[in-house]
């Protein structure tokens, strides 16, 4: 969208002001995320850019991996500092987060895919209502869902258990799977199911051999959404998890509440890296899916 050659000086000024404004907004969006990365490698426990970090050529004394060592629970003498506690909590949290996240993703993906398949049948009764109920956890504020779940799970004795946390995350993550899979099913030709069945395949075989390969991109990106939802979830974990179910977000929350230490920034950097990885994967999948379905991207 370049300026036409006949633009007046006033228009040019407006145009450059507009570009500048957009640049500022982009900066506003990513700057905080970028800023924490170098800070996590700093030697000093105060989260500011020190003289040594800004010096050129880089001063090796200003940079260190000590906070990362602290994060993985390696509490040797040069790592421990009086202001920053060192424990294995981050590692426990990571293991728990992955355990809860992967289990919840698996269940949510299975349920969500099945639900999406059912909902995209043309003659499904009460489609609107079912869809509304299914995606409600996505649009109702988390705090309300969390409060409701807490009350409900308290009645059936599931609070402070892994089962409870996982089930709650499944409920939160399923809508994402339903939406992404439904989106891939839009271009799906139901005649292929009929064809496969007329050739003698039973429903299960049809699903795995015919439907699954075609909707796989949608399923995978739904699963990634589900995973990030569970992995990043803090409100429900806060209410429903005891110390045994300590996850990364819960540990971060506790850390931020007390005092922000550079160790939190290390974990944050790792999470930014993870989200870049997931973002790339989803983007690649989306393009592949569009190419497969013959939709040209403009």
């Amino acid at each position: 969208m370049a300026l036409p050659s006949y633009a007046t000086p006033v228009q040019r000024t407006y145009y450059y002001a507009y570009l500048f404004f957009c640049g500022v907004v982009f900066f506003f969006l990513v700057a905080p995320l970028i800023a924490i990365v170098p800070l996590s490698f700093s030697v000093s426990p105060f989260m500011v850019f020190t003289e040594g970090m800004l010096a050129w050529p880089p001063d090796p004394d200003a940079w260190s991996l000590r906070w990362y060592q602290n994060m993985i629970g390696n509490c040797s003498a040069d790592v421990v500092s009086s202001t920053v506690p060192c424990s294995h909590k981050w590692m426990t949290g990571t293991i728990n987060s992955f355990f809860i996240g992967l289990t919840a993703t698996f269940i949510a993906t299975t349920l969500g895919t099945i639900a999406a398949l059912g909902l995209s049948r043309p003659h499904m009764p009460y489609k609107g209502i079912i869809m509304a109920i299914l995606i409600s956890p996505m649009i109702v504020p988390l705090i309300i869902t969390a409060a409701g779940m807490f009350f409900f799970y308290a009645r059936i004795n599931l609070v402070y258990t892994f089962t409870g946390v996982i089930l709650a995350h499944v409920a939160l993550a399923t809508p994402f799977v339903v939406i992404t899979v439904t989106a891939t099913l839009v271009g799906f030709d139901m005649n292929m199911v009929k064809a496969s069945q007329s050739l003698g395949a039973r429903p299960v075989r049809t699903f795995f051999k015919v439907i699954m390969p075609l909707i796989l991109p949608g399923v995978i990106s739904g699963a990634l959404f589900a995973f990030i939802t569970s992995f990043d979830e803090v409100v429900i974990v806060m209410f429903m998890a005891s110390l045994d179910q300590l996850t990364i977000p819960k540990q971060m929350w506790a850390g931020i509440r007390q005092e922000i230490s550079p160790v939190i920034l290390c974990m944050a950097t790792c999470l930014v890296a993870l989200s870049i990885f997931l973002l790339t994967t989803v983007e690649i999948l989306r393009r592949r899916s569009e190419r497969l379905r013959g939709i040209k991207s403009r």
Binding site: M1, V25, P141, I143, I144, A147, F151, F152, F239, P249
Partner: protein, 376 residues
């Protein structure tokens, strides 16, 4: 299902009724017009239920009674100690009324008995009244809370105010960016899209942490400003743990939710419209105002409502960045759920919030249709 349970919870008052069933039964028979104090039967039922009641259940009921009128807890505790002592010695009084009044003279105070009237039914609207700073007076009329106990109305207003501001800022910042993304060639816009999607995919806590690090008094922004000589070392701005911090952080966090719907709407507006308008003699500003802007209204309303509704229910960021006066309604829900265990009030606040949301979603559905929610 859990939400339905929560709604029940917000009016539920059965717990106390399982503790004092007979007392309440007798209480309902009491004709308040005639006597200052309830009849002997009420005292008797109360005596027996306190004497043989389950300790934990009574404890819970006490907490509930204290919501209605403070003083109940100590009153019942005192009395039940006296009763238990008497029961141990097998001394049953002739007049239960006199016994209780002797144990604690508050039993002769009619205001306590009037307050009990709020609890005798299985359902109660009291939590809803509390959630909007109302309470009962002695004669069961609904009145406003005392000046120094009014917190919720203020918080509701603040929540709405912050949400409106955040929506407004998101719109101002998001509109040009979405416009740029929609009009650039795909090669560049895909690249720039990463700037929008990366925060969208990054953990909420990470972004909140990042903002605290940026904004705090010894933080990055203040550091840079001091280094540049714009601020003196002791003139550092306090931008975090107050409303400013909440606004800045929430705007950044919710901005992608504004940009993405705007982008998808702007993408399909033909560029030829603007050219045609200018061809017909409209100045660029007029063309933009009359031709382009009306076509983006679905995107603006979708993004606006999405941001607004998300902002209303926000909890993590205001709680961490907002400090003491940045607390929004979500923080109170969490506070009552975790700390005071006043689950009825918590559920009532949640239910009101839910109702506000549903109204906005209904509007959203009317304007753009709920199916238009897209991801990434």
């Amino acid at each position: 299902m859990p939400i339905g349970d929560m709604l029940l919870r917000s009016v539920d008052d059965t717990q106390i009724n399982t503790v004092f069933p007979n007392t309440f039964e007798e209480y309902k028979k009491w004709d308040k017009e005639q006597d200052q104090l309830p009849p002997e039967e009420v005292y008797k039922a109360l005596f027996q239920e306190l004497a043989y009641g389950n300790k934990i259940q009574v404890g819970r009921a006490l907490t509930r009674m204290n919501y209605s009128k403070s003083g109940w807890k100590s009153l019942i505790k005192n009395t039940s100690r006296a009763i238990k002592k008497a029961v141990k010695k097998d001394e049953f009084p002739d007049s239960y009324k006199d016994f209780l009044i002797a144990a604690n003279e508050k039993w002769a105070d009619p205001t306590f008995w009037y307050a009990m009237g709020q609890m005798v039914n299985n359902q109660t609207p009291i939590y809803y009244y509390n959630a909007i700073d109302m309470t009962y007076d002695q004669d069961q009329n609904v009145i406003r809370q005392k000046e120094n106990r009014r917190v919720y109305v203020q918080t509701w207003i603040k929540t709405l105010k912050v949400s409106v501001y955040v929506t407004f800022f998101c719109l101002i910042l998001g509109f040009p960016v979405a416009h740029l993304l929609a009009n650039l060639p795909l090669r560049y816009s895909n690249l720039l899209m990463i700037f929008v999607l990366l925060p969208f995919w990054t953990s909420l806590l990470v972004r909140t942490t990042a903002w605290i690090v940026m904004l705090q008094q010894q933080g990055v922004i203040n550091g840079i400003l001091v280094w540049l000589g714009i601020l003196s070392d002791d003139g550092r701005l306090s931008m975090v743990y107050n409303e400013t911090g909440t606004l800045i952080a929430m705007t950044q966090i919710l901005l992608p939710f504004m940009i993405l719907p705007l982008y998808s709407v702007m993408r399909v507006i033909p560029k030829s419209h603007m050219r045609a308008a200018q061809n017909l003699g409209a100045k660029p500003a007029t063309a933009f105002w009359k031709v382009y802007l009306p076509q983006t209204i679905p995107g603006m309303s979708a993004g606006g409502l999405l941001v607004f509704v998300l902002a209303i229910g926000y909890f993590i960021t205001p709680e961490l960045v907002g400090g003491k006066d940045g607390k929004l309604i979500g923080s109170w829900i969490a506070y009552h759920l975790k700390t005071t265990l006043n689950w009825g009030l918590c559920a009532a606040l949640g239910a009101i919030l839910l109702a506000v949301m549903l109204i906005f979603y209904w509007l959203y559905n009317k304007i753009v249709g709920i199916d238009n929610i897209k991801l990434g």
